[in-house]
Symmetry: C2
Subunit: 201 residues, 2 copies
């Protein structure tokens, strides 16, 4: 089961870089979801991360195929209202695309439309989706059963959930608030990593 961090668009650049470098050893990938940044700021952030020693292969750009292309990043997480994956694959087949989905039907469509993975959520209650009801794991397990591509889960996932999620067969989990709202992001992510190692054995 993979462990993915999703940035929360709240940290100043130098702090964000610091946190990402600190959590790098414990995560399999980072989705850069910095929606308030300009395109040029995104390019600068990615350049800075790579120059500072963050592995380019661990980066996933949220939403923006062009920024990924410009920066040599091979993976993009497409939001629900993003460019349909098929249109992107048609032009840039070498790009890997994840699609964010919120239902079984959206997951099936994403898979048929050429997505390489889906990210389903939000699973449990979370600060970043306050007031929206959580989806739970019932639909998630149907998606996992029926999709030929990997299903990731996001939303309020705590280390204590990992055993159950592993049992359901999720390909990985994505974490935002628990890392980026924490005063000790390195410690926070290590709790997930330790639990994952425990679940694996």
């Amino acid at each position: 089961m993979k462990l993915i961090a999703v940035t929360n668009d709240c940290l100043p650049d130098h702090r964000l870089a610091e946190v990402l470098l600190a959590i790098q050893p414990s995560v399999d990938a980072v989705i850069l979801r910095e929606k308030s940044k300009t395109d040029r700021e995104m390019v600068r952030l990615i350049d800075h991360l790579v120059e500072s020693g963050f592995e380019q292969q661990k980066l996933i750009v949220h939403g923006r195929v062009d920024i990924a292309l410009a920066c040599g990043i091979g993976r993009v997480q497409i939001p629900g209202h993003g460019i349909p994956p098929a249109l992107i694959k048609n032009k840039i087949p070498e790009l890997s695309l994840g699609k964010s989905v919120h239902s079984y039907n959206e997951a099936i469509s994403a898979s048929e439309d050429g997505a390489d993975w889906v990210l389903y959520g939000h699973l449990f209650e979370t600060r970043s989706k306050e007031g929206l009801s959580a989806r739970g794991t019932v639909e998630l397990s149907k998606i996992i059963a029926d999709l030929p591509i990997p299903t990731y889960a996001i939303g309020g996932i705590q280390p204590s959930h990992l055993k159950e999620l592993a049992r359901l067969g999720v390909a990985g989990i994505a974490i935002m608030s628990s890392i980026f709202d924490s005063d000790h992001p390195g410690q926070a992510i290590r709790k997930y990593r330790q639990e994952l190692e425990y679940v694996r054995n």
Copy 2:
């Protein structure tokens, strides 16, 4: 001298399509600057325009290289804080890129960075840039003189300005409010077109 319309992100889709089809015969290009639309909505709008008979070759996408690529549009207008043109040209050399600039130095940088044209503004007072002081034509004429690529102008340009702008050697003008805030966009654009024909002769 070319005549370019820039959409103002205020019209509902059906009205926008109606207006664009109505002004199509009078304009050389349209910059789709619909910043509040989702990526999927942009793709749908472009599909709808092309299916309705709008010439694909007359479309320029504002800011989004990936949406242009996905929709088979060959030209993108890059804002001041957009992805640097050189990074885009490096990956997709066949794309034509205009850069929006607000000073002589920005124009020189854009040209050196591989932009195919610059769009300088805002030239005169305009409703879409209320409270910001207009730049006038002095810097514009320096840019025209020193840049090896075409210089377009934008901002509060009225038909009465065209003679002077033609004398300065601008490659074309871009119009937003005068068309899209008008109750009669077709009539509004024809006044520019008629004046351009007059200036040409």
